[in-house]
Amino acid sequence: MRRALPLAGLIVGAAWAASSMAAVPTMVGKDAPDFVLKTLAGSNLRLSEFRGQVVLLNFWARWAGDSRQEMLVLDKINATYARAGLVVLGVSVDEDLRRAREFADAMKVTYPVMFDTGGSSTGKGYLLEKMPMTILIDRSGVVRYSHVGFKTGDDRIYLEKIRELLRE
């Protein structure tokens, strides 16, 4: 009886964890919600204007430690694959616009960095879970891949998916 109780607890716990994992909503397979945001350079960019190209959308925040590392990796990917039809877009979800700008400026990435601040609901549309979050959108504007967080080696997964989408 004593053994059975923790075992039942474990089973219930595992079932709850599995159900909660399955319940995580994802945008994969759905049309990427359109948005228009201001970039670090001061211009406005609209996502739908990149229809026909593969888009890597990276949501980042200054306070998310992995963002810095990931942005450097994405800058390299952008330098290599931009000519092949890849568009890398960074979107900051920082509350503090001034500090986010300073951070983006210091990173000196070559791809456009935009700011989703001031009550814009861009992040909500993409069901952001945790920062950073990377979304891959195919040429027809459909979300094909979603990745939460960043660790060394994840860039290889990105490259694999990017090549796959560029070949389509």
Partner: protein, 207 residues
């Protein structure tokens, strides 16, 4: 009455289209399901090419023409539905539409427009370089479509962008208008005032 008639005609159109596409689908599937008794008269000619490849081309051409016809009908139906939706959501007696146009634009590079009606922000639109360029080429954008009660109203529009000498520029324009029983159309016009070397922002009430 007119609206009801259009709704009925669109529904009938959709039903006919569904029937046509079903027939088309059965025709297309006929070579595979040649032995199925459900194959209709339309399907029969399509089934024949499987047996006689020489006669295949004209039949497939007919089928292709049918498919193209159905596609055209779908586009027409979609257009009708869009117009109908607009008529239902924004009936003429309450409809107010606001447009943006730009002439020349030498002294102003448009960045955003904010529209307030009766002190309530109804639209804030950021323009990309392409969109601003389209306006410069003569395009007119419907920035807002909504409903308003009959009576007096106030519209305020704020324009932001780069003015002469690349300076940040923010200007407003106001119009007091009366909404009657018909639809109301307002145009936010950005023009160049050559004499002052400044942009000019006006709101035109299309009676």
């Amino acid at each position: 009455m007119n609206l009801k008639f259009r709704v009925v005609s669109i529904i009938m159109g959709a039903a006919l289209l569904a029937g046509a596409s079903a027939a088309g689908a059965s025709a297309a599937g006929a070579p595979v399901a040649a032995g199925v008794p459900a194959a209709t008269a339309t399907a029969a000619p399509a089934a024949a090419p499987a047996e006689t490849p020489a006669a295949a081309t004209p039949d497939f051409k007919t089928l292709d023409q049918e498919v193209q016809g159905v596609k055209k009908d779908v586009i027409e139906l979609n257009k009708d539905l869009f117009v109908l939706e607009e008529e239902l959501l924004f009936p003429a007696n309450t409809q107010v539409a606001v447009y943006v146009s730009m002439d020349v634009g030498t002294f102003f590079a448009l960045d955003s427009v904010t529209v307030k009606i009766d002190n309530k922000e109804v639209k804030n639109y950021l323009y990309t370089a392409r969109e601003a360029d389209a306006l410069l080429k003569g395009g007119v954008q419907q920035i807002y479509l909504g409903n308003l009660k009959v009576g007096k109203h106030e519209l305020v529009a704020f324009f932001t962008g780069k003015g002469p000498m690349e300076r940040e520029y923010k200007r407003g324009a106001t119009i007091n208008f009366t909404k009657g029983v018909g639809a109301k159309y307002l145009e936010l016009k950005i023009t160049d005032k050559v004499s002052k070397h400044q942009p000019e922002f006006t709101i035109k009430d299309w009676e």
